[in-house]
C-alpha cells in the first residue's frame, strides 16, 4: 500500500447488535461499532470507474493532485459506449487508458471485457466484506457476494483516488425474508419487479437491505446478482445476500486472497421486515416510464414490441442467456422484432459460444453484439418515435434508449424470449 501509512483498517471484530452494513462500515472506518445515522470516514477496498474514468482524471488534474492513495484499490473498466462510437468517445477512452498506464492501475479492463460489475466479480476483485464504491448506481450488485457496493459521482471517485476515503452515512437496515420456491417461468427478476412495484422507487430509500429466508440457499449467484442489482431501483444504498456455500463455490476459482465474510449479529436491529413467498409470484413486467410501474404478465400480455434487448448488468449473465436460449431453441423470433443480445462479459460470451447457446440465439434471429452495457446505456439499439422495446435491463426511464416517444418495458429473460417469438409481450409459461 502506498497511501497513508497511519491508517490501517481494523480487522472485523466481534461486536453485538450490528447489521452487515454497520459491520462493514465500522471495519472500514476503524471503529468498533457504528449505528444508523452516524457519519464515518470510510476507506473503500475498491474504487470502480467505468467509461466515466476520464472525468475523474480531469478532476484530479484540475485540483492539482498527482498521486493516488493506492493504485491497487482502483479498477477501471471501459464498458459504456464501447468500442468508441464517435471521436469524442475515442478521445475520452484514450484519456482513461493513459491514466491507467501512467498511474500503474493493474485492474484495467479495456473495451473487450464487458460490463464493469460482472467483469470485476468474475476476475475475483470483489470479496465478501469489502467496501466498494464506483461511478455507477448499480454497484449494489457487489452485495451478491456479500460486499457493500454503492454508487458515487465522478468527482467523488477522484477524491477517493487521492485521499483513499469518503464520508458515508451509516444506513438503517431492512430484512427481506424470502420463502418457498419459484414456480416454473418465474425468476429472480420477477421477484425484484414484484418488490419494486409494491415498495416503490424509494421504498427502501437510503437503506441497506439484507435477504434471508429458506429460499436463499437455492438462489444461484447469478440470481443474487439480479436481486442486488435491481434493489437499487427501490432506492437502496446497498443490498446483501449473506455469503454461503454458493458464494464460496463461485469464489473458489476466482479469488486467490483469503476473505472474511461478514454476517449480521443475531440481535442486530432492523427498521422493518418484509416477507415474500416465491410460490405466490408470477411473471412481472415493468411498464413505461418507471421501474415501479409493474404489472403481472396477464395485464400487459399482447402489447406489441419492435425490439427485444437481452442485456445489461441485471440480466445478461450466462444463466440468463441459457434461459432465453431454451425457449428460443428451434424457434424463430417474430419477423417484426429485432432481438439484440449483448452478453454481459467476454467470459459469458465465450461460455455461450462454447455451449452452443450463442448459436441458438443467432439461429432464432437474434443479433449478438460485443459484451458491454450496449443498448441499456444508449449504445446501439436506439428506439425511434413510437417504438416499443422489451428489455431485461434495470431501467425503463423516458428516452433512455432513444426517442422520448419510445417506450421501454422490463422483464425476465424468459418473458423476453417468449415475447420475441410472438412479437408481443407474452407469458413465458406457455413455452416451458
Amino acid at each position: 500500500m502506498t497511501g497513508n501509512p497511519c491508517f490501517r483498517p481494523r480487522d472485523i471484530i466481534e461486536t453485538m447488535g450490528m447489521t452487515i452494513a454497520e459491520k462493514i462500515l465500522a471495519a472500514k472506518s476503524g471503529k468498533s461499532a457504528v449505528s444508523p445515522g452516524e457519519i464515518v470516514d470510510a476507506y473503500p477496498d475498491l474504487v470502480m470507474s467505468h467509461t466515466a474514468t476520464w472525468r475523474s482524471a480531469s478532476v484530479m488534474q484540475r485540483v492539482g493532485a498527482t498521486k493516488l492513495y493506492d493504485p491497487d484499490r482502483l479498477a477501471i473498466v471501459l464498458d459504456h459506449i464501447s468500442p468508441a462510437k464517435t471521436e469524442k468517445y475515442a478521445a475520452d477512452q484514450q484519456t482513461s487508458r493513459n491514466f491507467a498506464r501512467q498511474h500503474g492501475v493493474a485492474k484495467f479492463y479495456d473495451i473487450d471485457s464487458g460490463i464493469a460489475h460482472l467483469v470485476l466479480m468474475e476476475a475475483g476483485h470483489v470479496k465478501p466484506g469489502d467496501l466498494i464504491v464506483g461511478t455507477d448506481s448499480h454497484c449494489t450488485i457487489y452485495g451478491s457476494l456479500g460486499a457493500l457496493g454503492t454508487g458515487i459521482g465522478y468527482t467523488e471517485v477522484a477524491s477517493v483516488w487521492i485521499t483513499g476515503k469518503l464520508w458515508m452515512k451509516v444506513p438503517s437496515s431492512v430484512r427481506i425474508v424470502v420463502d418457498g420456491s419459484f414456480a416454473a417461468g418465474v425468476y429472480a427478476k420477477d421477484l425484484m419487479l414484484h418488490l419494486i412495484g409494491s415498495l416503490g422507487a424509494d421504498g427502501c430509500g437510503y437503506q441497506s437491505v439484507e435477504f434471508y429466508g429458506e429460499a436463499v440457499p437455492s438462489l444461484s449467484v447469478s440470481d443474487r446478482m439480479t436481486i442486488t442489482n435491481l434493489a437499487m431501483e427501490m432506492g437502496v444504498k446497498c443490498a446483501f445476500v449473506p455469503p454461503d456455500e454458493n458464494t464460496a463455490e463461485y469464489l473458489r476459482e476466482r479469488l486467490k486472497d483469503e476473505y472474511h465474510p461478514v454476517y449480521a449479529d443475531a440481535d442486530a436491529s432492523y427498521e422493518r421486515e418484509i416477507a415474500v413467498r416465491l410460490g405466490d409470484l408470477e411473471p412481472m413486467v415493468a411498464c413505461p416510464h418507471e421501474v415501479q410501474n409493474t404489472k403481472p404478465i396477464g395485464v400487459v400480455e399482447g402489447t406489441h414490441i419492435d425490439q427485444a434487448f437481452l442485456g445489461s448488468c441485471a440480466n445478461a449473465k450466462y444463466e440468463d442467456l441459457v434461459v432465453a436460449a431454451k425457449i428460443l431453441k428451434g424457434r424463430k423470433i417474430h419477423p417484426g422484432v429485432r432481438l439484440i443480445v449483448t452478453p454481459g462479459s467476454k467470459q459469458i460470451l465465450l461460455e455461450a459460444m462454447n455451449s452452443g447457446v450463442l448459436q441458438t440465439l443467432i439461429e432464432s434471429g437474434g443479433l449478438v453484439t460485443n459484451p458491454g452495457c450496449g443498448a441499456c446505456a444508449g449504445d446501439g439499439g436506439m428506439l425511434a418515435d413510437g417504438e416499443v422495446c422489451l428489455s431485461t435491463a434495470n431501467r425503463n426511464f423516458l428516452g433512455r434508449m432513444g426517442s422520448a416517444k419510445s417506450q421501454i418495458y422490463l422483464s425476465s429473460p424468459a418473458t423476453l424470449a417468449a415475447s420475441a417469438i410472438k412479437g408481443a409481450i407474452s407469458d413465458p409459461r406457455e413455452f416451458l
Binding site: 485540483v63 459521482g153 467523488e156 428516452g399
Partner: protein, 161 residues
C-alpha cells in the same frame, strides 16, 4: 450563499437522472452544454422555460436512478440556485453537494407552494420563508456545508492540497 431567494418551479415525485440529463450527453462535463439538454425529454418548453426560475421544488426521491453527477451540473447550468425536495435519492444528494448545488429536504413546503411563488432559503439557519409562513429543515453538518460553500468537492480538494 447562505441565503437563497427566488421563484420556484415545481416538479412531482421520482424525477430520475435520465430525465434530468440523458445519457447521450454525458460526454460533456461543462455546465452550459449540459444545461442545453437538461429535462429535454419532457418536451413542453424544457429546458429553456426553467431559466425563468431560481429554485426547483420537487416531491419524493428527486434524482433517482443513475449516479451521473452531471444531473446536478446541468441543473446549475440552467441558473438554478437550489433544489428543495421532500426527499432526494442518495446519489443525487451527494453529487449535488460535490457539485456545489445547495439542496434542502423539506417535505412540509411542497404542498404549500405553487409554481412561480417566491421563497427564501436560509441554509445556515435551516429555515425557508414563503410569504408569512416559515418552514424548518435540518441543517447539514458543518463539514459538508464547507464543501458546498467552496463550490463543490473539487474546490474543496484544491483547498486541501
Amino acid at each position: 450563499m447562505t441565503e437563497i431567494q427566488g421563484r420556484i418551479f415545481k416538479f412531482g415525485d421520482n424525477i430520475n437522472s435520465d430525465v434530468i440529463i440523458p445519457g447521450r450527453y454525458l460526454i460533456y462535463i461543462d455546465r452550459e452544454k449540459l444545461a442545453q439538454h437538461a429535462f429535454e425529454m419532457l418536451g413542453d418548453g424544457f429546458p429553456d422555460k426553467l431559466r425563468n426560475f431560481d429554485i426547483l421544488v420537487a416531491g419524493r426521491n428527486f434524482g433517482c436512478g443513475s449516479a451521473r453527477e452531471q444531473a446536478a451540473t446541468a441543473i446549475q447550468g440552467l441558473g438554478i440556485k437550489a433544489v428543495v425536495a421532500c426527499s432526494f435519492a442518495r446519489t443525487f444528494y451527494r453529487n449535488a453537494i460535490n457539485d456545489g448545488l445547495p439542496i434542502v429536504e423539506c417535505p412540509e413546503l411542497y404542498a404549500a407552494v405553487q409554481e412561480g411563488d417566491e421563497i427564501r432559503i436560509d441554509l445556515t439557519g435551516g429555515k425557508i420563508a414563503h410569504g408569512s409562513d416559515q418552514y424548518s429543515f435540518p441543517v447539514m453538518a458543518q463539514s459538508v456545508r464547507k464543501i458546498l460553500e467552496l463550490g463543490g468537492l473539487a474546490e474543496y480538494l484544491k483547498s486541501q492540497m
